[in-house]
């Protein structure tokens, strides 16, 4: 099992750090796409199968909240979980993000563990990438 990840942040450094933390944390990442703002993020979604999105809020051209609300209107995108990673952390902004469909919220600066934990909470898998409710032995039938 592995996940395709999309990272949306206008800072190149922040995208690199998120990507680095993801790969170091043992998170099972298959492909990793990145985008500099919401519009670019949506363009990636048009072409690529994405399982989870990590997105900033404050970005030029299209911010993260607008990207979330556009995603909601498309049946193919509306169920892709989005974790917001933002410096903005007022209660109202956090609520706004959740109301727009975000499944998690990480405040910058963050520790690798914060990211890892939120990812697993949102995807419903434990630290080893296994589903919490997997029964023993169910995998021995996999080829």
């Amino acid at each position: 099992m592995s996940f395709n990840v999309l990272i949306v942040d206008d800072s190149f450094s922040m995208r690199s750090v998120i990507k680095k933390v993801l790969s170091l944390s043992g998170f099972r990442m298959d492909r990793c796409f990145d985008a500099g703002n919401g519009r670019e993020g949506l363009a990636v979604l048009e072409k690529e199968w994405v399982d989870i999105i990590l997105s900033d809020i404050n970005m030029p051209e299209m911010n993260g909240l607008e990207m979330l609300s556009r995603m909601k209107q498309n049946p193919v995108y509306q169920n892709i979980p989005v974790i917001v990673i933002s410096t903005e952390g007022s209660e109202e902004r956090v609520n706004e993000a959740f109301c727009n469909g975000a499944k998690g919220f990480i405040k910058k600066p963050f520790l690798p563990e914060d990211l890892k934990r939120t990812l697993h909470d949102v995807l419903g898998v434990d630290a080893d990438g296994n589903y919490a409710d997997d029964q023993k032995g169910s995998n021995d039938l996999d080829f």
Binding site: N4, D30, N74, L141
Partner: protein
């Protein structure tokens, strides 16, 4: 010719095991992998490049519909839905067909053994492997293509329109029926579909159409503005009493391995409505309906077949055309207007 490569997506280890074992009995089919969830499935689709997917639509931990939408958008692959016979399963299945699944098969149940299922499934896998899927445009755009419904007819007619469909028919029927005017002549339909799915399918069509669509009950009259869908596992037969057309719903032997069978409907239509009827044969595998359509034509009925290009599977229409039973071969979006012109 190479084997048909199949990937089984099902969260139940038992179902994965049963399906793998059953399909292993057929030399032309190879189960290249199994996946318990969408993430594993995606990996395996990319690496194993299967020809056909079987997908359990009801999985506790995964939204099968979401998975299917992504599949149809990013890696279109002929997909057969494996579904339970519950009303919820029926509803999900119809939505799955809407999204682009090729066919549906019911999970084994009391009166329906694993052996029964595997024979049917293998047939469906063979058909699905020949289906050409193209990347789906944005669903909203696709919906807009559907032309306007036809306005009411000047005069109500007592003609009977008999329609038969199989694989790909849920979409094809939607295209035809949504265009039919509110005072359309009475319509009787056989769509090959497992029992229990027909109720939900009729409801769904009813919500989309100007005409009333419902699952037929025994002795229902065929009236203008109403389409009757044969219930799964029963044949539907047209009868006439004076000026009133009505249907009989009854069990009986399978015809072309199907119940309801299109031939049963068409032959009874030929007998009781003759020249006062129109026969329409839509996408589907096999030959069901071809003989019945020929009988209809011989009694003076007008007949229409869906063209190869717009068919998911050009089987039943092809057989009917071969028998010289067809007057018009038309793309799916022109069939409704042709019917209206002829009534």
């Amino acid at each position: 010719m190479g084997k048909i490569r199949v990937l089984i997506v099902d969260d139940s280890a038992i179902v994965r095991k049963i399906l793998s074992e059953e399909l292993a009995k057929y030399p032309d089919i190879e189960v290249v992998g199994v996946a318990p969830d969408p993430f594993v499935a995606r990996d395996k689709i990319v690496t194993l490049k299967p020809d056909v997917l079987t997908l359990d639509i009801e999985m506790p931990r995964m939204d099968g519909l979401t998975f299917l939408r992504k599949l149809m958008t990013y890696y279109p692959l002929p997909t057969i839905i494996v579904s339970s016979l519950t009303p919820k399963g029926g509803k999900l299945t119809l939505e799955a067909l809407d999204i682009g699944a090729v066919d549906v098969i019911a999970k084994p149940g009391a009166a329906y053994t694993v052996g029964d299922m595997s024979t049917t499934l293998v047939e469906k896998i063979r058909v699905a492997s020949r289906v050409k899927l193209t990347k789906r445009e944005n669903p909203e755009a696709a919906r807009r293509v559907d032309a306007e419904p036809i306005k009411a007819l000047a005069q109500t007619s007592n003609k009977v329109i008999a329609i038969g469909a199989s694989t790909g028919g849920t979409e094809a029927l939607k295209v035809v029926l949504t265009k039919m005017p509110p005072n359309s002549p009475g319509i009787i339909i056989v769509q090959h579909m497992p029992a229990n799915f027909t109720t939900a399918f009729a409801e769904r069509l009813n919500n989309l159409c100007q005409i009333t669509v419902r699952e037929a009950a025994d002795n229902d009259s065929v009236t203008a503005g109403t389409a009757l869908l044969a219930p799964g596992n029963y044949h539907m037969i047209l009868r006439r009493s004076g000026a009133r057309y009505y249907v009989e719903i009854k069990t009986g032997p399978m015809v072309h391995h199907q119940r309801p069978a299109v031939d049963v409907l068409f032959k009874s239509t030929a007998k009781y409505a003759g020249a006062n009827s129109i026969g329409v044969i839509l996408t589907g595998m096999g030959a069901d309906g071809a003989e019945g359509m020929l009988e209809m034509k011989k009694t003076g009925a007008a007949t229409i077949a869906q063209d190869e290009k717009s068919c998911v599977v050009f089987g039943m229409p092809k057989e009917a055309i071969k028998l010289n039973a067809v007057d018009y071969v038309l793309p799916i979006d022109q069939i409704a207007s042709q019917i209206v012109r002829m009534v």
